[in-house]
């Protein structure tokens, strides 16, 4: 059902409203974030969160998708709004309020193709990121805190892990997000009791130790738990 509204419905940008995206990834047991290098403008050659301006004729969610895709080539991922950041002086040259979005993705699934205002795009280990321009450090911290809280009442991993994964990989993910160490047998017991995982009846290959069983998420249970919410104290 397309909706049309007459006034100022153009693809001109709204001067004072931008979008910034935090895309989390998980790779080699580390939590990653996708950043872009600016090709020009006031922060030329600096790494920052992918973002840009909203236009009059697009929903803000659509704007986040478009910008992320144009800047990095990443698409078809689930973006969720975090919140707006609107300090008067957060942007140096004029008043710009930004709406932050975040997403979870598998870095290996994407070939990064920098474009639009981005001269480069790259996954960074989250703990090694600092001194981002504007208030991007604050936004990133906010996003990470949200993620830390989120993993306690919603299943997570579906968008971050390969389709088939071991219990240790899942545990590593939780440990990377929460920045803690968890007890292996207890983690396993807790996860298995949720009926969230289906055994693939396959073992991992190419590891120099006893091969672990591979699991995949039961999408039905996953979605149900995501809707209902649960309580997961680690």
């Amino acid at each position: 059902m397309p909706k049309e509204k007459a006034p100022n419905l153009s693809s001109e940008i709204i001067e004072d409203l931008s979008i910034d995206c935090i895309v989390f990834g998980f790779q080699k047991s580390e939590l990653k974030v996708l950043l872009v290098k600016h090709g020009g403008g006031i922060i030329k050659d600096r790494w920052a969160l992918p973002g840009g301006f909203v236009t009059y004729n697009e929903n803000i969610d659509a704007s986040a998708y478009r910008l992320l895709n144009d800047l990095t080539g990443v698409k078809e991922l689930y973006l969720e709004q975090l919140q707006a950041f609107g300090e008067v002086d957060r942007y140096p040259t004029k008043r710009v309020i930004t709406i932050a979005y975040y997403a979870l993705a598998r870095p290996d699934n994407y070939e990064l193709t920098p474009g639009f205002t981005a001269s480069d795009a790259k996954w960074f280990t989250i703990t090694e990121i600092s001194n981002l321009p504007y208030d991007h450090d604050e936004i990133l911290k906010f996003a990470w805190n949200r993620l830390k809280r989120k993993v306690k009442y919603e299943p997570i991993g579906f968008n971050l892990l390969p389709e088939k994964f071991t219990l240790l990989q899942l545990q590593d993910l939780y440990e990377a997000i929460l920045e803690t160490k968890l007890d292996k047998p207890n983690f396993r017991r807790k996860i298995m009791k949720m009926n969230l995982l289906i055994s693939c009846n396959e073992k991992q290959v190419g590891v120099s130790h006893r091969a672990a069983n591979l699991y995949r998420f039961d999408k039905q249970v996953y979605d149900r738990l995501k809707d209902e919410g649960f309580i997961f104290e680690f």
Copy 2:
């Protein structure tokens, strides 16, 4: 530390950016929401969430406070941002993105003094609210869902209950928010174990049945739990 930035730093409004506030209250065992009647404009005489436009020289948080105070007289309450709502057609005459805030308050603490663009201000029982203009129904629903989720990992009640309250009042609050019935002895046991409540060693007066003990929140524990978060499955 005042901050000054040169361009477009004026008290002119940002045409395409508004604020809407959901103020929750608790009164007579019911969850309430503060609405205002519009004194003019395109929804003259209709009840809606208190809100208005942001100006170039104020932070968005400050804007929310200002608008709420100007419209209803309510002030000195803790506002927290929910998120932005930015469908292209959410506002009829032009493109306006709104940032929603919510707060918890004690209705009895405030004398409502409608002003600015509001001709009236009133507390409504949440379950009786419907057909708000724009996307305010959606925003309200979103806010309530957030509150429902929030009570499960943060203490709540400090801003909603009178200073001294009974365990049943606290339980009524949870029941009103969550729209469920809870078991009295179990609720009591769970709450008491948190060390969140301090007995006032006083009984309620003027009730036509056995008077219950009065409690107040232990602010230290309350704030600590609010920071740390906890897990509360009812």
